[in-house]
């Protein structure tokens, strides 16, 4: 196997919104490489639909403190409030910066950035929905990804496309670089660097029904965890209420922002019962639970395990559920929601302007991840001690601005606000730090792993193990959880980890070996699932997206704290970090 070495001050792993934003800032000052296992424009940021929040006040009055409060409440008070306030204030300048970069936002009649309503975003601390989400039809993420990539081209950012990072080089607690496989050739590359920023996104593929791309296998989380560093709040995984039935493809909350409603088998707009004020625009965890309650009580459509998302104009007009109760037409909705309307037509063969759409909650977003401070520095313990040179931003990270449940639009805000802050801080760090020497044979772990999998002769197959993992997580570690199910899941994950040691692949070659890559990704998925299931069993309360049927109440006395989980010698350990509370002491969460 050929091994190559490259020196760079900084290495960014992942080329979605957070990675590209960090790269734009870091590469202005220090020699930076961006490594992605995809072409950058394939990154999952591109699939984000409905918008990116900022209290610009272009449509109606809005304030950063309202936005920060909504974020804290949305996260069921597990959000670090200093970080949420910082994000709410900085969102304004970052959105303006994106516009200056050329992002084609939709416009108001007077030429400003247009905004729309989104779940959990309210005026005056919960009074009523507010128009805060800046958007470009329902392809806002696509526009963000394209715009950031365009700026990277303009700035001659150095990319290593289709380089699959397998390992972090960490010696004596200091970052030395990463190891990657060049997918096209199978060659191994060692990137010797002062700093590494992980922006590898989420891990939705631990579940069976997910909105996440096949590539979202928790790589960054698993790589860092394997190095003996902690992950934070892994028990909190968001299920988006409106995935296309069985497929999990997302239908944006923007649909409900424009007036769409959820309907059960009896034709009821059931969210009126669960969230009398915000109804269909309550936070995602609340709505996903409500959907499953309806299904459990026999009010799924035809008694089955789905309900309808209805965005026919006549329905919206009947409920007067559009902003301000305005009348909408099919033509208006097609302009505002072109992509999701097309998804329904292509994948279900039905016309959502004439028929309601079968939906079910879909695994969508990891609130937890690599713990960081507000400058993207990864931390190693409950005292916020940074790991010199290690950074994380975007979904892979946990700042925590999402707490126990993320608000819609806030993933995109997180990417650009904290991607930028991390990129800046990393550049500053690299200017002051020296290269720490590489250990002997830094590629050894990767070479050994690749050869073991390639030459494996066992009887286990990665796709089968992956299916079993996804089924287990879907059954026992999804919207509703309880101790015995979580224990079953943990036993199963342990069993799968053992069987994983005996896998065999068909493709023994080097060139573009995706059989090998999928097997390595399965290893990452198993580790992320392990951290998720153990953290979920450990937290004996219900908060945000983490709902324990055996502990159905939020328990601030014992659990108003972040979980940190480590794995050492095959055993997991926990520690806890206080939640930062600046302005808003916890109170009951009602929508």
């Amino acid at each position: 196997m050929n091994v190559h070495r490259h020196p760079f001050d900084a290495v960014v792993v992942g080329a979605g919104g957070a990675g590209l934003m960090a790269a734009l800032y870091a590469s202005k000052h220090v020699k930076t490489a961006v490594l992605s296992k995809l072409y950058p424009t394939r990154s999952h940021t591109g699939t984000a639909q409905g918008g990116i929040a900022a209290p610009l006040g272009n449509m109606e009055e809005d304030r950063p403190e309202w936005y920060a409060y909504d974020t804290v409440k949305g996260g069921d008070w597990l959000v670090d409030q200093d970080a949420a306030e910082l994000m709410a204030y900085e969102s304004i300048e970052v959105i303006i910066e994106l516009e200056h970069m050329g992002l084609p936002f939709d416009r108001t009649p007077d030429g400003k950035i247009a905004q729309r309503r989104f779940g959990g975003h309210t005026r005056n601390f919960g009074e009523a929905p507010v128009m805060r989400s800046c958007h470009s039809a329902d392809r806002t993420g696509h526009m963000i990804l394209q715009t950031l990539y365009q700026q990277c081209i303009k700035q001659n950012v150095i990319f290593f496309d289709e380089f699959f990072v397998t390992d972090l080089i960490l010696e004596d607690g200091t970052v030395r670089g990463v190891v990657a496989i060049e997918i096209a050739t199978g060659d191994i590359h060692v990137f010797h660097s002062k700093a590494v920023l992980f922006a590898t996104g989420g891990a939705g593929r631990i579940y069976k029904v997910t909105s996440n791309a096949h590539s979202l296998t928790g790589d960054g989380m698993a790589i860092v965890w394997r190095k003996g560093l902690p992950l934070e709040d892994m028990e909190f995984f968001q299920f988006h209420p409106t995935g296309i039935y069985k497929l999990g493809i997302l239908l944006s909350e923007a649909a409900r922002g424009e007036g769409a409603v959820l309907i059960n088998d009896k034709g009821e707009r059931f969210m009126e019962r669960y969230a009398p004020t915000l109804k269909d625009l309550a936070s995602r965890d609340v709505i996903s639970r409500a959907i499953y309650m309806e299904i459990r009580e026999g009010r799924g459509i035809g008694g089955k395990d789905y309900v309808y998302l209805d965005f026919r104009p006549e329905t919206i007009n009947r409920f007067k559920s559009a902003p301000g109760g305005m009348e909408v037409t099919a033509e208006y909705l097609e302009r505002k929601l072109p992509d999701i309307i097309e998804f329904v037509r292509v994948y279900l063969g039905i016309d959502p302007m004439r028929e309601p759409v079968p939906i079910q909650p879909t695994a969508h977003y990891a609130m937890g991840g690599i713990p960081t401070d507000v400058d993207g520095r990864a931390i190693r313990d409950e005292h916020n001690t940074p790991v010199p040179g290690l950074y994380a931003a975007g979904e892979v990270a946990c700042v925590s601005v999402h707490g126990a449940n993320r608000l819609g639009t806030n993933s995109l805000v997180d990417l650009v606000v904290f991607g930028r802050r991390a990129g800046r801080h990393m550049a500053e760090y690299c200017r002051q730090a020296d290269f720490a020497p590489l250990p002997p044979e830094p590629e050894a772990f990767t070479v050994e792993m690749v050869e073991r999998i390639r030459n494996g002769t066992g009887k286990e197959r990665a796709p089968i193990l992956r299916n079993e993992l996804q089924d287990t997580m879907q059954t026992h570690v999804s919207v509703f959880r309880e101790a015995s199910g979580l224990e079953t899941a943990i036993d199963k994950i342990r069993e799968l980890q053992e069987r994983y040691r005996h896998i065999r692949i068909d493709d023994k070659g080097y060139r573009f070996n995706t059989d090998l890559l999928e097997a390595i990704e399965l290893g990452f998925l198993l580790d992320v699932a392990e951290a998720t299931a153990f953290s979920a069993l450990n937290r004996t309360e219900s908060r945000g997206a983490h709902y324990r049927e055996d502990y159905p109440k939020r328990d601030d006395d014992n659990w108003l704290k972040h979980t940190l989980i480590w794995r050492q010698d095959g055993k997991v350990t926990f520690a806890y970090k206080p939640v930062v509370i600046t302005k808003w002491p916890p109170k009951e969460r009602k929508y």
Binding site: R42, P104, D110, K112, R139, L247, D506
Partner: protein
Amino acid sequence: MKVRLRIQRFNPEKDRKPWWGEYEVEAEPVDRVLDALHYVKWYIDGTLTLRRSCAHGICGSDAMRINGRNRLACKVLVREAMEEGRGVITVQPLLGLPVIKDLVVDMEPFFANYRKVLPYLINDDPPPERERLQTPEERERYDDTTKCILCAACTTSCPSFWANREYIGPAAIVQAHRFIFDSRDQGATERLRVLNEWFGVWRCRTIFNCVEACPRGINITRAIEEVKLAILTGRLA
């Protein structure tokens, strides 16, 4: 339903020339061609190699030739592809780019053409404190070409590109159009100069393959015609 697939295979590490792999899989009629390819890869032959990521038509990874037409494998249902192919779905890599392995082609020549058109907003005025203003009509002017996902389905469906890989190709022109007609942009002159060169827009013979191939429904030929007109008249009408 039973689905039959004929997939063009080629691994330069061991094959001297491409060959056809034939597979039969069980699928739901509403499964996508990508699902059928995954079935082959996961349960029949793990060496089958393709790119894919989002699986719902946004990331642009899985553009390939299905029944002789460029499409995203995640956006074609097997029912339709089987009907169209009269009982067999034929899958090949995109034409006109070097094959790395099976359905994976080398995208670098494609992205090199993309970079030639200065695919980023050019505006050297000091930015205002808030957003630059743009009316909904000005925004609408270039809306169609903002949808491009750089999947290369258009460029690799173009006979002019097959004939000469130096031709910049429809995708790059679409990207240029997206900025040329953006009221905030000041780089039109430079881009039009690039597109007026010998490898530029004049190699387009308005064959319309690109329009048919585009999974985002972009009216590519119209965009190219608008660029041609801008070069001829010197005006951005």
